[in-house]
């Protein structure tokens, strides 16, 4: 069988990531402004079109606001970050379509 090997771990250590909960939900979507976020994948826009149609048909007074990512990167890390942050502040909730 040969000798005994004591082997080191190839698996990286990670710094502890501070855990954070998600934001409180809305009680109702009627009259709310819903952000529709397009991640720049092929199907994201038509998926959001369908989401918008469904939301508008279900909730009175619901409006939508769109935001489109221009690169395949986290938008907060791009030059669009400030514009995105402002957009988020102007909506009550966001639906993101990944589009993959």
């Amino acid at each position: 069988m040969g000798g005994i090997y004591e082997v080191l771990s190839p698996w990286a250590e990670v710094d502890p990531v501070p855990l954070r909960g998600i934001s409180p939900r809305l009680s109702d979507l009627s009259g709310k402004r819903i952000g529709l976020f397009n991640n720049n994948k092929l199907a994201a826009a038509p998926i959001l079109d369908a989401v918008e149609t469904e939301l508008r048909s279900r909730f009175d007074g619901l409006t939508v606001a769109r935001f489109g990512r221009r690169a395949h990167e986290n938008v907060a890390q791009t030059e669009d970050g400030p514009r995105y942050e402002q957009w988020v502040k102007e909506v009550d909730a966001v639906v993101l379509a990944v589009g993959d």
């Binding site: 082997v7 250590e13 998600i22 819903i34 038509p46 998926i47 149609t53 639906v95």
Partner: protein, 442 residues
């Protein structure tokens, strides 16, 4: 998923519609950012779907969950997630016989499916003779898991891959390249497109490591070509945490993820032809490596052995849509083209201007984002260029005798890093320089 986390961090509720096949990947991404509770809604819309009816039906089926995702009160766990159990193995991972080590590593998901060399303390210490950086030196953190890439972790994975200590400077430079935001490694490595890092080595280190730039440079059999790429693949998995079908969502996968490493045959570049690293802005005598992320590799035959036959074959075999092309040109063709007055720049310009297809073969014509960033062509027969610009092509002289050429198609950029050598470099090279196969004749 990172966009959803960013949205929640701005105190705004979010829900993510994600194809049902990407749930694990999405959950890993959210957890990696410290927000495991991001609400996902799996949907059944086919990936990158262009059929409106399928999209509408898939979204409609998911809408109750979308609404619930935005309105259902938070659970205690969503409000305040419990700390996770550490997933590390400690510095010493295992002790056992060779076969047990192999089984342990494979079961942990730490291999590429092939047997690995046991990364013992002694083997790792020897690997570290290839660098004068301290073992604990942090090169950076690798996405998606943000694993800490220390010099020792690089050495451990290099031992497992069977690399020689002389590979360490290249491996460290490779990690630096991957961590450079311009490489967009976090996108390419885990993309459905199965892009694989393609490494081209230039400068004196090619010869010191005996990296093959000649016959069959992309085939198995050379320890440097084979193990440098393999070590990087293990690092991507074990340090970055990009695992096939979990975080790396390549649809088909790519054999080049085992390894795709060559050296350029700089000496076969005719007069006036610059090697890749010089084209990238470095000095000829600097050791460098260049990474790009092709997902396809096509080998073609020229339509004649003169310059016209070579160029005709290239322009006739280029494929619409991809935005970046690395042309692998064997030395014979390089000389033929140079003798007829072509430079590398001439070839790129010519192919940009004349390698075209009718618009109907271009994704733009069909409303699909593709290679040509302009107003979509209106006439199906209008010729459209296959390259985005002459700068979308790089030429590397490599390969043996024969006429086949290679086209490596990608969508990224070429990113080049200078390789930093340790103070003891000459002695390390001397120690391993003659580690070569001695094939018998038959």
């Amino acid at each position: 998923m990172y966009d959803a986390v960013s949205t929640e961090q701005l105190d705004t509720p979010a829900v993510v519609l994600v194809n049902e096949g990407f749930g694990f990947d999405a959950r890993s991404a959210a957890s990696g950012k410290g927000m495991p509770g991001v609400r996902l809604v799996p949907e059944t819309v086919p990936c990158e779907c262009t059929v409106p009816e399928r999209i509408v039906s898939g979204v409609r089926a998911a809408m109750d969950d979308v609404v619930a995702g935005l309105t259902r009160p938070l659970t205690a766990e969503e409000r305040s997630p419990a700390p996770r159990e550490p997933d590390g193995a400690g510095r010493i991972a295992f002790k056992g016989h060779l076969a047990e080590v192999q089984q342990f590593c494979y079961r942990r998901g730490w291999t590429d499916g092939l047997p690995v060399n046991p990364p013992t303390e002694e083997a790792v210490r020897e690997m570290l003779t290839g660098t004068d950086l301290p073992a604990g030196h942090l090169v950076g953190k690798m996405v998606p898991r943000m694993g800490k890439v220390t010099v020792e972790k690089i050495a451990i994975n290099a031992v497992m891959a069977g690399a020689l200590p002389t590979s360490m400077p290249l491996l460290i430079a490779a990690v630096e390249a991957l961590l450079d935001p311009q490489a967009a490694f976090g996108t390419w490595q885990v993309s459905t497109g199965s892009w694989a890092p393609f490494w081209v080595v230039n400068g004196p280190i090619r010869e010191q490591l005996r990296i093959n730039s000649g016959s069959g440079a992309l085939s198995p059999g050379d320890i440097a070509n084979a193990t440098i790429g393999r070590a990087i693949g293990l690092m991507v998995k074990n340090l970055g945490g990009a695992r096939k079908g979990m975080e790396d969502m390549g649809v088909l996968g790519n054999p080049a993820k085992y390894t795709m490493v060559i050296a350029e045959n700089e000496e076969a570049n005719p007069d006036g032809w610059e090697p890749l690293h010089v084209r990238q802005g470095f000095q000829r005598d600097e050791s460098c490596l260049t990474v790009s992320f092709p997902n396809s590799y096509l080998q073609i035959w020229p339509y004649g052995s003169d310059d016209k036959g070579i160029i005709r074959a290239l322009s006739s075999n280029m494929v619409p849509r991809w935005r970046q092309l690395t042309l692998l040109l064997p030395p014979g063709h390089a000389q033929t083209l140079a003798d007829a007055g072509w430079t590398k720049s001439d070839i790129a310009t010519y192919l940009y201007e004349y390698a075209r297809v009718p618009a109907y073969r271009s994704p733009d014509f069909w409303g699909v984002p593709g290679v040509v960033r302009m107003r979509p062509p209106l006439n199906a027969e209008d010729p459209v260029p296959l390259l985005r610009s002459p700068d979308s092509l790089r030429i590397v002289v490599v390969g043996g005798a024969g006429v086949f050429m290679g086209l490596a198609y990608g969508a990224s950029q070429w990113l080049t890093r200078r390789v930093q050598l340790p103070g003891n470099w000459e002695s390390v090279v001397r120690k391993y320089r003659n580690f070569v196969p001695n094939h018998v004749s038959y």
